[in-house]
């Protein structure tokens, strides 16, 4: 039976089934029991409604989760994404407001800087062999200080219609961040599956020594993953700053790393590296946001959001844990 199933369905799709089912269950529950959840209205060619909001609100987590998926696939983790988001906001805001260089230049410079910040993590992890949690902890701690330093301890407000379009504008009827996620997903898939990078990442994450002996350069692979995550975080930072039309170095990207890591893990990429699943991570991000929206719309006090999130995340991770399955099977066998 399972033999046949595996032949009918490619391995990657089979992995995706759990998160997809969780998302479907959440949506179904809301569609049936939450008033107005499934309603999507079109005004001036723009779509509005809870579903659209979920897409827009989860865009930051989705963007960063693309990079984080690659990092986690190399058996690493990047804790500094939230701090990079804050830095990106401060830098972009300063460049636009104080330097008066054009918007495209400012955005390009910001993205470039975030790429460099990611590469810094990559250097520590790849070349110096520091444990990922520790290496990225440095930027996580110092980064927020740097962001505050760059913003001069203030919230820099940005009055630029071009800049606010990034988060507030619409493209093809959907919020513009959705387009950004789609483009970045295309880019990531092209980079990892269109080239051999994906294979190298999975090889390094699954057995680094073997990959090294087979001629893969683990340092370069890790460098790519962390730098790319830096870039993704930078874009998320720009969206966040654009959304509130200001750079808030204290609160931008706060706890983002947690949501992103959870999204990746829910999406089926194991924390100890190896096979990765980009689509799964996006589904994971959607699950987290849908959950948050559900809680809000069901009238559950906001303060319980985090509790519910914790429980759901734990349940999903437990469902995916092979150890627990083994434990349960043993119980059943011995009973």
């Amino acid at each position: 039976m399972s033999e046949r199933l595996s032949r009918l369905m490619p391995a990657r799709l089979r992995q995706l089934i759990w998160p997809l089912m969780a998302l479907a269950a959440l949506l179904l529950f809301n569609g049936l029991f939450t008033d107005g959840f499934a309603r999507v209205t079109i005004r001036d060619g723009h779509a509005y409604g809870s579903l659209v909001d979920i897409l827009k609100l989860s865009s930051r987590v989705m963007l960063v989760s693309l990079g984080m998926t690659l990092v986690i696939a190399t058996a690493g983790v990047d804790l500094s994404v939230g701090a990079v988001v804050a830095i990106a906001g401060s830098v972009a805001a300063r460049l636009i407001v104080q330097q008066q260089i054009g918007l495209p230049m400012a955005l390009a410079a910001t993205s470039g800087l975030c790429l460099v910040l990611g590469a810094w993590n990559g250097t520590l992890v790849g070349w110096l062999g520091v444990q990922p949690i520790v290496a990225t902890l440095i930027l996580m701690v110092a980064g927020r200080g740097i962001a505050q330093l760059l913003a001069g301890g203030q919230i820099i407000t940005v009055e630029s219609s071009g800049f606010s379009f990034i988060a507030g504008g619409y493209f093809l009827g959907l919020p513009f961040p959705v387009t950004m996620v789609a483009l970045m997903l295309l880019l990531t898939v092209a980079l990892t599956r269109g080239t051999a990078l994906g294979l190298f990442i999975e090889a390094v994450g699954n057995n680094e020594t073997a990959a090294l002996f087979a001629g893969v350069n683990p340092c370069a692979v890790k460098m790519f993953a962390y730098a790319f995550t830096g870039l993704c975080s930078g874009m998320a930072g720009i969206i966040e700053a654009s959304d509130i039309k200001a750079a808030d170095a204290n609160n931008a990207g706060l706890y983002l790393e947690l949501d992103v890591i959870l999204a990746v893990v829910i999406g089926g990429t194991p924390l100890n590296g190896g096979r990765f699943d980009l689509a799964g991570s996006l589904v994971g991000a959607l699950i987290i946001q849908t959950l948050t929206t559900t809680i809000k719309m069901r009238g559950v006090p906001v303060e319980y959001t985090l509790v519910v999130k914790a429980v759901v995340v734990l349940v999903i991770c437990l469902a995916q844990s092979p150890e627990l399955r083994k434990l349960l099977l043993q119980r059943r066998a011995s009973a």
Binding site: N207, A210, A211, A214
Partner: protein, 513 residues
């Protein structure tokens, strides 16, 4: 110790295993096995890979639980659920890789978990005193307050034994205890074991080294494919007969095998492909010369720890040579990484397949194309169709038993994993292939196929460095044999000189200095 109860009595064995069965999904790892251990004996457990030795040990020491049968210990039926429980009963194990805590002191390692207490606190003075005494009992005198990892593997092994003895073990299980020891260290270990035996301890000894097994054991129990073959007196079972029982062949076939001689020398008209002059690295290999021609198999013989793997690592650029130089086709090259070596069209099948070669979650296809893809770089991806063709070819050519190319390689048997790794290198079309123990841990059929493959590859002009602890294989397959001892190259045998006795003599000879 009460000597009256210690005297070995045949009617009451210390440990009696009766019809023990252990089933893993798809395998009967132990199938109704009997095993008897007396007080004051050293009993070797013999068998090829997959015979069930380690499973039997795991069942005895509580790491696995049996599915059927009975274990009588001192007349009582036991069923240890964990190593700790087995230890409390009096069955202690010393594992192949030292299972102690490297950062903690030697003394603490001996008393961890059962530290003497005084006024509610650990009595460190007592620990150090007692540990020093316990080690002295087995002829080791070291500073017990220093961390364990500041000592050699041999001392660590002895600390492990001291711990086992201090728990008042009645049965000591030694699983491959000598694999990281040199000859002197082995002698010391054996002297200690003999004394412990005289004190009434029962010892189960597992080792791949036949010489050692014969030197130390009183009796053998031979297993094959999870079944008991028999129990024998060491003195009455000739070596070849033992091997025959282990591999399940009749004696004649074995005799034929060991009588065969080396391959004919390669005509030396070829310019050497690789020339190494004075290559060396501190703590790894003393400077050595080596020449390998295209179409030649050079065997590397020597005991474990003699520098075989270290040589391979130096040649493949994993470890950087500190002195000497390397020429390929007469041109000077410097290798600083495996990538560099692969760029010169080298290939390397490492000894430790599981940790250094196989990428378990990736498919057979991905495992095979990896080296070729890595040498092409990340941008020039081999198309899916090309990959499939390539992989299908190798699956067929090497007879890799897998339902399809997309199966994760971890589900394949050891022999098929090894073939997939070989395919990985063949696909990258190397000019020089280093094979470090390519036949270890795989079944006899696969071994023969790999040996045939080696012959075919060199006839196609590939240069091969063949490392194996099965000396017969080295003799059979090599055009030239380089013998290593104590991380030095000691001699080189060519053509007709290659036979088992010559190699063994070279290995066994003592250094003169």
């Amino acid at each position: 110790m009460n000597s009256a109860s210690v005297i070995s009595t045949d009617e009451a064995p210390l440990l009696a295993v009766r019809g023990v069965t252990k089933i893993f999904p798809g395998v009967r790892a132990l199938d109704g096995v009997d095993f008897t251990l007396r007080r004051g004996e050293i009993h070797a457990l013999m068998g090829e890979n997959g015979a069930g030795k380690s499973t039997l040990i795991k069942v005895l020491t509580g790491a696995d639980r049996r599915d059927g049968g009975e274990i009588l210990f001192d007349g009582c039926s036991i069923d240890p659920r964990s190593p700790a429980e087995a230890q409390r009963l009096g069955i202690s194990t010393v594992y192949q890789e030292v299972n102690l805590i490297p950062f903690l002191s030697v003394a603490e390692n001996i008393y961890l978990g059962r530290q003497p207490m005084k006024f509610g606190r650990i009595d460190w003075k007592q620990i150090n005193l007692r540990a020093a005494a316990a080690l002295k009992h087995i002829d080791v005198e070291v500073d017990v307050a220093r961390p364990l990892n500041s000592y050699s593997p041999a001392i660590q092994q002895m600390v492990s034994i001291a711990r086992a003895l201090d728990i008042r073990a009645k049965v000591l299980v030694l699983d491959e205890p000598t694999s990281s020891l040199d000859a002197n260290e082995v002698r010391h270990l054996f002297a200690v074991l003999r004394r412990l035996k005289a004190e009434g301890l029962a010892i189960i000894f597992v080792s791949h080294f036949l010489d050692q097994v014969y030197a130390i054991s009183d009796r053998f129990t031979v297993l094959r494919n999870g079944k008991l073959i028999g129990e024998y007196d060491a003195a009455k079972l000739p070596r070849l007969e033992l091997i025959a029982k282990m591999i399940g062949k009749d004696l004649k076939a074995v005799e034929e095998m060991s009588a065969r001689r080396g391959a004919e020398p390669v005509r030396t008209a070829h310019q050497p492909f690789l020339r190494v002059i004075g290559l060396g690295r501190r703590g790894s290999m003393t400077r050595f010369d080596l020449t390998i021609r295209a179409g030649e198999v050079v065997g590397l013989a020597g005991l474990l720890g003699s520098g075989r793997t270290e040589t391979a690592r130096l040649l493949f650029g994993i470890d950087r040579a500190e002195e000497g130089r390397m020429e390929i086709d007469g041109k000077l090259v410097t290798l600083t990484s495996p990538r560099g070596a692969i760029g010169r069209r080298f290939g390397f099948c490492p000894e430790d397949r599981k940790t250094q070669a196989v990428i378990p979650d990736l498919s057979v296809r991905e495992n095979i194309v990896l080296a070729l893809q890595a040498s092409k770089g990340w941008l020039r991806k081999i198309s899916t169709q090309q990959q499939q063709e390539l992989v299908e070819n190798y699956i067929k050519a090497l007879g890799i038993a897998t339902p399809d190319a997309e199966r994760p390689v971890k589900f394949l048997s050891g022999g098929n994993q090894q073939k997939a790794i070989l395919a990985r290198w063949l696909a990258s079309r190397p000019r020089f292939l280093i094979l470090d123990e390519p036949t270890r841990g795989i079944d006899v059929g696969a071994k023969v196929e790999i040996e045939k493959l080696i012959a075919r590859l060199c006839s196609e002009g590939m240069a091969i460095l063949f490392i194996s602890s099965e000396l017969e294989e080295v003799v059979r397959d090599s055009h030239r044999v380089v013998v290593l001892r104590d991380r030095k190259k000691v001699c080189e045998l060519t053509g007709g000189q290659i036979d088992l006795p010559s190699i063994m003599q070279a290995i066994a000879a003592r250094a003169d200095e």
